[in-house]
Structure formats: C-alpha cells, structure tokens
C-alpha cells in the first residue's frame, strides 16, 4: 500500500511538469506585453519599466539583478526556456508571483479565497452524498413506485437545468419572494459570505450556492446509485444472503450497498475534486469570494500570474483528491489491494 502511494506521488511529477509547460506556453502565446498589463493605463518611466522587465525575468540580468545590455545598448530578451526555469524555480520555492492588477502575492490571494471555495465544496458534497445516495437507494429499493418516478424525473430535470439558472431561480424564490411573503421575517441569504452577524447566519449563506453547486452532480450520483444498486441486487451473492435467512434490510444495507457504492464513491470523489477547483458559474452567480470567481476575474483581466498560480493549485488539489479516491477503493473492495498480488 505504502509503495503504491509512493508510486502514485512520483507519477505526480510528469503531470505537474506537463501542466506547467502548457500553462506557461499558453500565457506566452497570448499577445500582449506583461509590463503593459502591470502598468495598466499609466505610462511608466523607462527606468521603472527596465526594472520591472528585469524583475519579471523578461530580459537577461547579471548577478545583482541588473539588466545586461548588448553593444548597441539594448536589453537582451531572456530565452523562453530560461523564463520557464525561473517560473518553476519560483514555484518550487512557493512563490507564485504577484498579481498584475492587485499588486499582492498570488499566494496571499488564494490563501484568502480558498477557504470559501473549500467550505462551499464541503457543504455541497455533503448534500450530494446524503441526497444523491439516499434518493438513489430509495429509487432502487422502491423500483417503479411513485418515489422512483419522482427521483428519475427530478434527476432528469436537474441534469438538464444549467446550474447558473437554477442559482438565479433559487435566489428569486428563497431570497426575494420568500422575504416578501414572510414580510422580511424569513429568507435565505443569496450572495456573498461576508456581512454575517452570527456563526449560524454565516452558514446560512452556504445553503443556496451549495445546492446550486451540488445540483447536477447530485442528480448523477442518484442515478448511478440507483442503477448500481439494482444491478447488485440481481447478483448471485444476494440470493445467497436471502437464502441464509437475512431480512431485506440486512440484505440491502450489508450485502448490496457496499458493492453498489464503489462506482458512486469514484464519481463523488472526482466531483469533489472538481468542486475544489472552484465553481466559476456558481461563484459568479452568487458573487462568492472563492477561487473560481478569482480565476475567472484573472482570465478576463489577463492577470497571468493569478491564472497560472490558481490553475497550478487546482491541479495539485485534483491530483491529491484522486489519490485519496483510489486509496479509498481498497477499503471498499478487497479485490483491490494495491501492491500485493496474492491470488490463487
């Protein structure tokens, strides 16, 4: 097992290199001088511009970090490979650069924003696990009943409904209309996580965005759960369990569920990874101060250090989550025991 984990972590290296190369290439291909982006509307004094170019490794510098000039007195552009080298070296030192627009270290931006994304993802995944697995189970156990039809129908609708539109509808009903109907007595907060007075109130802010974020994947989770459980209930070992004298609750909860959960756990695990990568649509609709919204802002503003830093962070998170998902298989399915091939 330990060997397997180590192997998987070593596999991170090529993925990491690949991602950084692509990111670096993309930001270099996109037209536009980074120094102009940093400067924004203002015009820079030549000395300042020179200094900035040197600091951003755009021109060759000497040991003191001063620009080197050729015989004509011009600066020498740094090669792309060397630029990539500086970028990686900074990255490994935990330096993601500085935002062009915000003039603060990228790492600080994400330190500030990431907790909101994580908490939102956590609430959403709890909804997905409870509602998705629960609805899927009810639907499978009470097959062809009213509840089954309800679940199948509502999951179809949720899958077809764009998340941002669902978010807007929720805001309209639970934020605006409910407030009107109850005379302002009860309503759901519909934007941002700030401005909360109490702990409870701050958690209330998570409900609508989390439902929006979880909606589509909850529907998928319910569908996977339903079909897996139905398939498992047809297995021979289920017949064995019934023939042993177990009641239907024991048969379903003990013998069928664990087998049926394996693909569902895969799906939810991967989904959690993508939620942690920030939900651009949900965060935008709810004006949520998470990383999805921040990356979206950075892309539109061509704030490359933020884009690169954010994507790198997201890649690392997704890699780690997928490793955790793979390890969790081993606990659900004894046929998967990484590393030891003891079979006969």
């Amino acid at each position: 097992m330990l060997k397997y984990i180590l192997k998987r972590i070593l596999q991170f290296i090529p993925v990491f290199i690949g991602v950084t190369v692509i990111l670096f290439a993309l930001t270099n291909i996109v037209p536009g001088d980074p120094i102009k982006l940093i400067a924004g509307e203002k015009s820079l004094a030549p000395e300042v511009e020179l200094q900035l170019r040197a600091a951003n490794h755009l021109i060759k510098v000497d040991d003191q970090g001063l620009p080197i000039f050729d015989e004509n007195g011009n600066t020498i552009p740094e090669s792309t490979v060397a630029q990539y080298g500086y970028y990686i070296s900074d990255l490994l030192h935990g330096d993601l650069g500085e935002s062009y627009q915000k003039k603060v270290p990228v790492l600080d931006i994400f330190k500030d924003k990431y907790p909101y994304t994580i908490r939102l993802a956590a609430v959403a995944i709890v909804i997905e696990i409870i509602v998705g697995i629960g609805a899927g189970m009810i639907s499978a156990i009470k097959r062809y009943s009213f509840w089954d039809v309800l679940v199948t129908l509502s999951t179809s609708i949720l899958v077809a409904m764009p998340a941002f539109w669902l978010g807007m509808l929720l805001q309209l009903f639970f934020g605006i209309k409910l407030k009107e109907w109850t005379g302002g007595g009860f309503y759901m907060p519909m934007s941002g996580a700030g401005g909360a007075v109490s702990e409870f109130q701050s958690w209330m802010h998570y409900i609508l965005p989390a439902i929006t974020l979880a909606s589509v994947s909850t529907a998928y989770a319910a569908r996977i759960m339903r079909s897996q459980l139905l398939e498992t209930l047809n297995m021979d070992y289920i017949r064995t369990a019934i023939a042993k004298g177990l009641n239907s609750r024991q048969v379903i909860l003990k013998h069928a569920l664990k087998n049926a959960l394996i693909p569902v756990v895969t799906y939810i695990g991967i989904d959690f990874g993508s939620m942690l990568s920030g939900a651009i649509l949900t965060e935008t609709v709810f004006n949520w101060p998470g990383i999805g919204y921040e990356i979206y802002r950075a892309i539109t503003m061509r704030d490359w250090p933020v884009v690169m830093g954010g994507v790198t962070l997201v890649v690392v998170v997704v890699l780690v989550i997928s490793l955790i998902v793979d390890i969790s298989y081993a606990f659900l399915d004894p046929r998967i025991r990484y590393g030891n091939k003891k079979e006969n």
Partner: protein, 376 residues
C-alpha cells in the same frame, strides 16, 4: 454437528413443529405448481411435482436445463419473486406444516436455519467484499444469536470441517483468494452452519473441474453421515447422483416423468426419457471408442407444452396415443411411478431399456484419471 448440541433450535423453529409433533415425512412436496405469468404467456415452470424426503435421505432431481428442477427448489425456499411467479396449486409441508403461505418473517427463520441451500456457481455466490468468516458465521449470528467472536470461532471450525486447510488464517480472507473448489467448500460450510434439516444443493458441481466435483460430492456425503441432514441434489447429470442418491426424480418440462429409488431408476426404469439420460452417460471403456447417444431435439417451450405427452416429439417410441393424451403417473412398483402410456408394458421396457451400469460404480468419478492414463 459438533458445534451445536442436538436439538438446539431457537424458539421460533420449535413453533413450526419439533420432532415429536409430526409423524410423517420431513419434507413433503405435494403436486406443486409454480407458473410464471409473462408477456408471452404462462410459463408452467413447475407443473405438478410431488415427492417426500426423510431425515438422512438423499433425493436426486435430474433433468435438462429448463425442466423446472431449480424452480422447485427455489419455491420451497420462498426465493421466487411473486409476481411474476404464482403458485397455482399444491403444497409444501415441512415437518407436517405447510410453508408455502408462511409469512415472510417466519419463512426467514426457516431459511438457512432449517433448510439451507448451496448454489451452482461458487464464483459468484459469495459476496466479494466480505471476509469468508463473516459470511460463514452470518447465519449463526442471525439465527442463533452468536456474538461476532463466537461466530468467527464457529466459522473456523466449519471451514476445518469441510476440509479447508489452515482455517484460522483463511477465515480472514476474501472470496477472490479462494479457488472454485474451495469456494464451494465454503458454500457447504455456510449451508451447514446452523445444522439444517435439509440441504438443497442446486447443481453444486456444475461449475467445477471433474476432479474437484468428486471431492465436493464426497464431502457432502461425509457431512450427511455426520449430521444426518437430508439432501436434495439437483443436477442435470445422472452420474452425479448415481452413488449418492437414495431416490431419484427425473423431471422433464416442469413435471416428473419417473420417480423411484436409485436402483429402480438405473436398472428398472420404464420411461424412454430416463433411458435417454442413462445412454448419455459416458461409459468408461478404455479399449473401445463409442459415440455417446444423445436425446435428439430440444425440450418444449414451457409456454406451449405439447398436448399429449410432453416428451412425445422427441420420443423414438411415440405412438398416436402419445401425441393425443397426457399420460398419468402409473405405479410400476412400490413408490416407483412413471408417466408413460407404456409404463406397465414390461415387454416394451425389457425390449428397449438400455443395458447400463451406473457411472463410476466403483467410486466417484475417479474414472477420469484412469481414462487419461488409458489413452497415454
């Protein structure tokens, strides 16, 4: 068996009748009819099956695929989904009491505890995500109230009993770590766990190698001698029950065609279908190449069984009456009946009955090895 003192049963099973309260047979199946209502019509999977079973006895139920052997067993266990299944008549009595209409809760107390079942495919009949020990001991936990620890200890003893080496280690392993034969031993251990009165084995050796088949059959006989349970052995291979069954029922198209003691079926059979089955057992002659004699044709669709004798389209001796009239069960001897119009015609039987010995009269299927050596 050693794990449980004789007569140690739960209160619920005593309610169903202890040894004193019934005088007849352990299990009586009386004209049982199980039909399936499907889109294509009514499938008469079991259409009038009767037999009795006593303690320590082995009944072999033999027939082709789709002859209703398994459905009979599943009906007894209450494992048929209803609908589409529907009991159209008849009764199943365990210790003198009908169990067909028992409420599900009482039926559960019976399953695994009084009547246990061994299934055909040991590869898929064990739950892949639970330890062998949990699965073997599970019956004891639900029926006898064993603690987790007690159940595990009992499972180790059971695994040892069915000949699994190193049981205290194997008990913690998972099904995928066992070979097919070992898994079937596990299934047997599981069936034996609660010391049931009846073990129904549904083609327990079909999925196994020939050499392993013999071991499993031997094990079942050995366990029966130790525990005195009755066995219903369902198979499509007469050879399998040749040396172990006391009584044999030959089934065709959902109904018995011949029923009698093993001797009677093998040496004094009266039904052409039984003859066909006997002829299709490979003989163990080394020096002589002989073709097997198959029964030509296919079994009828159970939606549309022929009007007369269900075997008539395939029967080489069929007369006009066979296509017209459904034969009654005719007793050719005490407890030996045959559903053929010519069952009582001894000349007919003597003329066409194949001269056949039981397959592997010496011991179980050891012939396979000799056969290989003979060729070499």
């Amino acid at each position: 068996m050693a794990l449980l003192k004789k007569g140690e049963k739960t209160a619920e099973s005593q309610e169903l009748g202890s040894a004193e309260s019934y005088s007849g047979h352990l299990l009586e199946v009386d004209n049982l009819k199980m039909h399936f209502h499907t889109k294509d019509g009514i499938v008469k999977a079991v259409d009038g099956v009767s037999y009795t079973l006593d303690r320590g006895e082995t009944l072999g139920i033999v027939g082709e695929s789709g002859s209703g052997k398994s459905v009979t067993a599943m009906t007894i266990m209450g494992l048929i989904k209803m609908p589409p299944g529907k009991i159209e008549g008849g009764d199943v009595r365990y210790k003198g009491k009908s169990i067909l209409n028992l409420p599900e809760e009482k039926m559960r107390k019976l399953r695994g505890n009084d009547i246990a079942m061994i299934f055909q495919d040991p590869m898929s009949s064990l739950n892949p995500v639970y330890k062998i020990g949990d699965q073997v001991g599970e019956g004891l936990r639900i029926h006898k109230g064993y603690s987790k620890k007690e159940a595990k200890e009992a499972a180790i003893k059971l695994l040892d009993l069915v000949g699994i080496p190193n049981p205290s280690v194997r008990v913690n392993e998972y099904p995928h770590q066992f070979s097919g034969g070992m898994r079937q031993r596990v299934m047997i251990a599981m069936a034996l766990a609660c010391n049931p009165d009846i073990i129904i084995a549904d083609e327990p050796t079909t999925a196994l190698d020939v050499t392993i088949q013999a071991q499993i059959l031997e094990l079942m006989v050995e366990m029966q001698e130790k525990n005195g349970n009755a066995i219903i052995m369902i198979t499509h291979d007469l050879g399998v029950v040749a040396n172990m069954a006391d009584k044999i029922m030959v089934m065709y198209a959902g109904a018995p065609v011949e029923y009698g003691s093993a001797e009677e079926i093998f040496y004094e059979s009266h039904h052409p279908y039984t003859w066909g089955l006997i002829q299709s057992i490979p003989e163990q002659k080394m020096d002589e190449k002989k073709r097997l004699t198959p029964i030509k044709g296919n079994p009828p669709s159970l939606v549309d069984v022929p009007k007369g004798c269900s075997f008539s389209p395939r029967c080489p001796y069929a007369q006009a009456v066979c296509f017209d009239k459904r034969p009654e069960a005719l007793y050719v001897g005490e407890g030996h009946y045959c559903t053929c119009h010519f069952a009582l015609d001894n000349d007919f039987a003597n003329k066409f009955r194949p001269k056949s010995s039981r397959s592997g009269d010496t011991e179980f299927a050891t012939g396979e090895q000799e056969h290989v050596e003979g060729r070499a």
